[in-house]
């Protein structure tokens, strides 16, 4: 689950032109450079890196001279979308829950917030049935010196605890609450 920009970076990292300079046998045995990004259990299934016995006399093209090339692994998609839905630096806490209430991503102290979001989501679903309304979309609550926002996002529930301010108004406008 990587986006297109990461696929581009992988393509760049693979450097096909360098492969062309290697003997065919060596090029086929070379692992891709993004192995470091893969989980260990997937990385083990890849072909082993070629050894000194399989190299020719030239310096290895795929190994950078100043150490292994490392690309920071991308965050999981859930974390990326939580970050998108959170105004940077303004949320006291945020949490994303799947339909079973499991925490997919979180930021800040979310022990109570995750329970609150899960419960609010359930109550809102019941209210929509009882009042014959459409499915729950979003909720904004004004507490004493605190704002709580809960909304549905791609089948998951996102909960934010925010300080009052202009950013809350913008978020409310976007969510229609």
């Amino acid at each position: 689950m990587y986006d297109s920009s990461e696929r581009v970076s992988r393509t760049v990292l693979k450097r096909p032109a360098d492969d062309a300079e290697l003997p065919p046998r060596v090029a086929a045995a070379s692992p891709p450079l993004f192995v470091a990004e893969l989980p260990p259990h997937l990385a083990r299934e890849l072909p082993p890196p070629f050894t000194a016995a399989t190299r020719d006399s030239r310096p290895p093209v795929h190994e950078p001279r100043s150490g292994p090339l490392r690309v920071p692994p991308p965050p999981p998609p859930s974390e990326r979308s939580a970050a998108r839905s959170r105004p940077a630096g303004l949320a006291l806490a945020s949490v994303r829950l799947d339909s079973s209430g499991a925490v997919m991503a979180s930021q800040g102290s979310v022990d109570l917030l995750s329970q609150l979001v899960a419960y609010v989501g359930r109550l809102a679903a019941l209210l929509s049935q009882e009042l014959s309304l459409d499915a729950f979309s979003a909720l904004h609550a004004e507490l004493l010196g605190l704002r709580v926002v809960v909304f549905q996002d791609a089948g998951e529930l996102v909960g934010l605890m925010l300080e009052p301010g202009q950013h809350v108004q913008e978020l409310r406008q976007r969510l229609g609450v």
Partner: protein
């Protein structure tokens, strides 16, 4: 259950374009008054009241008392205004002038508490209990 003066107070909310109806519940979610179309059955409204009360309790579990809440269900909004132990619930479509509804709710709740002080004091009695309402043998 439904007090006539209270219901007429709720009726004032319909002055705002779009408001479909409103109902008032107490701390436990019991229906105190309603001004909603007959489309809404009493049993469904009772259950909704209980769930709104639980929603309020859950939101207040973080420590702060709930002032107001807007929940969106597709093209409809459910606005909650909490004052004391009562919660006023207003149903309206999206696009309704929400600030106007909120001001209407504030006025309704203010008039409600000025008209039925007994209800408020009764709730206080239940919430605070006898021991915290006396000091050195004197009733506060």
């Amino acid at each position: 259950m439904v007090e006539r003066p209270t219901t007429s107070l709720l009726d004032a909310l319909r002055d705002i374009d779009g408001v479909l109806g409103s109902f008032l519940i107490d701390f436990d979610g019991h229906l105190l008054a309603r001004d909603v179309p007959l489309l809404f059955q009493a049993e469904a409204l009772d259950r909704a009241g209980e769930h709104v009360a639980r929603l309020r309790a859950a939101l207040e579990s973080e420590g702060g008392s709930l002032s107001s809440c807007v929940a969106r269900f597709g093209d409809h909004l459910l606005l909650l205004r909490a004052v004391g132990h009562e919660t006023l619930c207003v149903l309206c479509p999206r696009g309704t002038n929400v600030p106007a509804v909120q001001m209407g709710c504030t006025l309704v709740m203010r008039r409600l508490h000025s008209r039925v002080p007994k209800a408020a004091s009764m709730h206080d009695e239940l919430a605070l209990g006898g021991s915290t309402r006396s000091f050195r043998g004197r009733r506060l």
